[in-house]
């Protein structure tokens, strides 16, 4: 049975098993490769997208659960005011290194700021501890979130 997905405002009918994780449908079936695979068990946050406005780990979310709900990925998060501010802060501070985890970091940070416009260090830790970066961009992620929150 095909599932209807609404990704970044566009509709897609995808003919996959319902238990296939949303991640692979986004990356392979639809071709939006900005969302990354890191662990497959919701431990690293590289695959974070927004489903119904909430941050979700797409590597463990069955596509059947995401069907008929608005899905936003890194490719379109800049269309939201919070996403735009976060991306600009990432550019201003040059957060990225290898960049692989940064789609997920930005999606988590945007969800954080949307829910909590003035996060403290503890608030940042509570949300961002779910996103691993092996390049060690954590100090700059913290700084960029604060900059985006101020902006």
């Amino acid at each position: 049975m095909p599932y209807n997905l609404t990704v970044n405002g566009k509709s897609y009918a995808v003919d996959v098993d319902g238990d296939i994780p949303l991640l692979w449908v986004l990356r392979d079936t639809i071709g939006l490769t900005g969302t990354k695979f890191g662990c497959g068990i919701a431990m690293c946050g590289a695959c974070t997208v927004h489903v119904d406005g909430q941050a979700a780990r797409s590597c463990v979310m069955p596509v059947s659960e995401a069907a008929e709900k608005p899905i936003t990925t890194i490719e379109a998060i800049g269309d939201t005011p919070e996403g735009k501010r976060v991306q600009q802060a990432w550019l201003d501070i040059d957060v990225v290194q290898c960049g692989y985890c940064q789609s997920g970091q930005i999606m988590s940070a945007t969800a954080l700021i949307a829910a909590n416009p003035t996060p403290t260090d503890d608030d940042i830790d509570a949300v961002m501890a779910g996103n691993i970066c092996r390049c060690g961009t954590y100090p700059r992620i913290r700084a960029a979130i604060k900059l985006a929150a101020r902006g």
Binding site: D17, G31, G40, C44, L91, C98, G99, I124, R134, C135
Partner: protein, 717 residues
């Protein structure tokens, strides 16, 4: 001092070239004669620059970008001498072509060992300058003036005293008929307008909006997607598998069997993974099936007092020990480590009868190409490697085992196939940093300062496999890096007790290579000696580093910024460590606190670095932060164990890495320097563990000599 240090590059370059597939390439700037520019074609004065008639200039990147900022740094060097702004250029990955793109110091197309900047600093500036000279020559000829009457600025040639001005694009046809200059004078550093200034990374925009393409993002036309299960046992093989359960999964098209692995091919990776999970695979565990962690550690322990091959020998250690006893002995033990780059291993391959294409992110382009040629039996010229951004390297992508496996699978698949390792496969089939032990033996003089230093290095020889030119008389020169210490100790001796990983367990290069291996035992050992002597560890190091002004400069700056002389509250400790390698000099101070339960927390890390001429100060700060986080992660969590001839851990749940809430403030201070640039990607890593262990000692009085740091050990203090 290691082979990755610039102070003995003349020797190491020769050694490297012996091991390299190619001799002498890259030592010249790669000027290609270009007789004429055809209509619509860009002007290509050398392999690194293409100037079109209209639009942005293309810079071709000889090193690969894995986060270390090299693309921006190389562009800065080219732009500095070409006289263009960074907003006037676009970047392109170099193809596999060691003749054009070999790192001049390595003699091959390798990005590793913190060699990129050191290798290309002169080459890139000369490439930019030569192109500029040809463009100026073309304009001067057209205007009938001397080239000396012209200068270049912002992508234009201008007449210095007049009003004539020509964009580079308008000059390309004429420039192509200019003779490439033999002498290429370079700007003095005092004239730099780009180099040394903080510049925004050129790869930030695409990494922030999701359009950056890593190897795992390659989607050639007609691609299918494979999930892979590799025999978990070292040197084990596939015995049997019934493909039916996978073939029943929607989207699955094929089950591929190779000697050591099974792959399931589907129209998306999710279906391939589901198909793979449905299989019951029987493995032949092979001869290593009984290997256990206890056995590997026992072998390492046995080697501590076994036979060893001599390396450094200065003075007369035996005599000094006899005269100055007692002999103090410390044994340090370091665990097996993975790289755990965020982008799991992956490789996309299309094998055709007449050629092969590979899409991958690799640190070692020429070997990736050769690996695909070897597996397919095709001539290497028939293999095209499309390099990509790397989602972390750390040395993992200096090996091409992934290309080999993916190509074996692709030989059985029609059309291109993308093979993606699960995180578990990535962790269980790494090129590991193997167990590394060290025995340090020292005697002190009447003044408490060391008179003799012995350092036995126990571990594998990665270089014997990976780069035989980095070995001498059976001694792995990288493995010995800095084992003799930078300190002024009259009698020093190091030796190498080679102890390999079990057959089939691949060992490889890990961020900081030999320095990360030896600086922990050296910097903890010297701290132990300072304690025995009753001398402050900073003061102790200072007395022993008077002959090393740059290392001393970094040490003093780190100590000052960390407030070393300010007393700490009870339950707090500071530790210090220095690191000299990769042509750079670093010192760091870690500060820790203990809570009531005997758990410690890293409060702060202060690092000072002298890396010579800085290219992009913002990148230096980022790379030191990065190196510190990588080192801290290993010091606190890094430990892979082996049971039944297989790696036990598999994902971030049982092989954890550092997260944001555990990351202390990291302060980076740069020592101003006009020396030649040093590497910066690795020098931040080696000092972290010893600085932390030394801080823990200061806070608790407990010497921990085994990594990772065991909070349980501390609670028992």
């Amino acid at each position: 001092m290691s082979i990755f240090d610039r102070t003995n590059l003349s020797l190491s370059r020769r050694q490297l070239l012996i091991g390299a597939s190619l001799t002498g390439a890259g030592l010249v700037i790669g000027f290609r004669p270009q007789a004429a520019v055809a209509a619509g074609e860009p002007f290509s004065p050398n392999a690194f620059i293409r100037i079109p008639q209209e639009g942005k200039i293309t810079f071709v990147m000889p090193s690969v970008e894995m986060g270390q900022g090299i693309y921006t740094a190389v562009a800065m060097m080219l732009a500095e001498e070409l006289e263009v702004g960074l907003d006037q250029v676009v970047l392109e990955h170099a193809p596999a072509d060691p003749k054009q793109y070999a790192n001049p110091l390595l003699g091959d197309q390798i990005t590793g060992g913190s060699f990129a900047i050191r290798g290309v600093y002169e080459q890139m500036r000369k490439a930019g300058a030569a192109a500029r000279i040809m463009l100026i020559g073309a304009a001067a000829r057209d205007w009938g003036v001397s080239p000396d009457a012209c200068k270049a600025e912002a992508g234009h040639v201008v007449e210095t005293a007049g009003s004539r001005r020509a964009a580079y694009g308008s000059l390309i046809a004429a420039a192509a008929s200019e003779v490439a200059p033999q002498e290429v004078p370079l700007k003095p550093a005092s004239s730099y307008r780009v180099i040394g200034k903080p510049m925004h990374r050129l790869d930030s925009p695409e990494k922030v909006n999701g359009t950056a393409k890593f190897g795992i993002d390659a989607r050639p036309d007609g691609v299918s997607y494979a999930a892979i299960a590799i025999c978990p046992h070292f040197n084990g093989k596939l015995r049997s598998v019934d493909e039916a359960p996978a073939m029943a999964i929607k989207g699955v098209s094929q089950v591929v069997r190779i000697e050591e692995a099974v792959a399931v091919v589907a129209n998306n990776t999710g279906a391939a993974r589901k198909g793979l999970a449905a299989l019951s695979i029987e493995w032949d565990p092979g001869p290593s099936a009984s290997v256990s962690q206890a056995e590997l550690e026992h072998l390492m322990d046995a080697a501590i007092d076994g036979k060893a091959l001599p390396h450094v020998s200065e003075g007369d250690v035996a005599k000094a020990e006899a005269e100055h006893g007692p002999v103090h002995e410390f044994v340090y033990r370091m665990p097996i480590l993975t790289h755990s780059a965020m982008e799991p291993m992956n490789c996309t391959v299309h094998v055709r009868p007449d050629g092969c294409e590979v899409w991958v992110g690799t640190q070692i382009m020429s070997r990736a190409r050769q690996a695909a040629a070897d597996v397919t039996g095709l001539p290497v010229e028939k293999v095209v490697v499309h390099n990509h951004l790397l989602g972390g390297g750390f040395g993992r992508r200096l090996d091409v085992d992934g290309v080999i496996l993916a190509t074996k699978i692709a030989k059985q698949v029609k059309g291109p196939v993308k093979v993606t390792w699960s995180r578990e496969e990535d962790i269980r089939h790494d090129c590991y940093r193997y167990l590394n032990y060290s025995k340090v033996t020292a005697t002190l003089g009447a003044d408490g300062m060391p008179v003799s230093w012995r350092h036995r290095v126990i571990g594998p020889s990665v270089m014997a496999r990976w780069f035989p030119g980095f070995t001498k008389d059976g001694v792995d020169l990288d493995q010995m890096a800095g084992a003799e210490t930078p300190y002024a100790i009259e009698n020093r001796q190091t030796d190498f007790a080679r102890q390999e990983a079990p057959d089939g367990m691949l060992t490889g290069n890990w961020r900081g290579v030999g320095a990360t291996r030896n600086i922990p035992p050296v910097e903890c050992g010297i701290d132990e000696l300072a304690e025995l002597a009753g001398i402050d560890p900073l003061e102790y190091r200072r007395r022993l580093l008077q002959h090393k002004p740059r290392l001393l400069g970094a040490l003093d700056l780190a100590a000052e910024k960390a407030g070393w002389s300010t007393p700490l509250a009870k339950g707090r400790g500071r530790g210090i460590a220095v690191a000299e390698d990769f042509g750079s000099f670093a010192a760091m101070v870690a500060e820790v606190s203990l809570d009531g339960n005997g758990r410690f927390k890293t409060e702060r890390i202060v690092c000072a670095v002298d890396c010579g001429q800085v290219i992009n100060p913002d990148t230096v700060e980022a790379q030191i932060q990065s190196g510190v986080v990588y080192g801290l992660s290993a010091a606190l969590y890094g430990r892979i164990t082996v049971e039944n001839g297989a790696v036990v851990e598999g994902n971030f749940d049982d092989a954890p890495v550092l997260r944001i809430h555990e990351t202390p403030p990291i302060e980076v201070h740069i020592v101003p320097s006009a020396e030649a640039p040093g590497g910066i990607g690795e020098v931040g890593t080696p000092g972290v563990a010893p600085a932390l262990l030394n801080a823990i000692f200061m806070a608790t009085g407990k010497r921990l000599r085994t990594l990772p740091i065991d909070q349980g050990d501390l609670r028992r203090v």
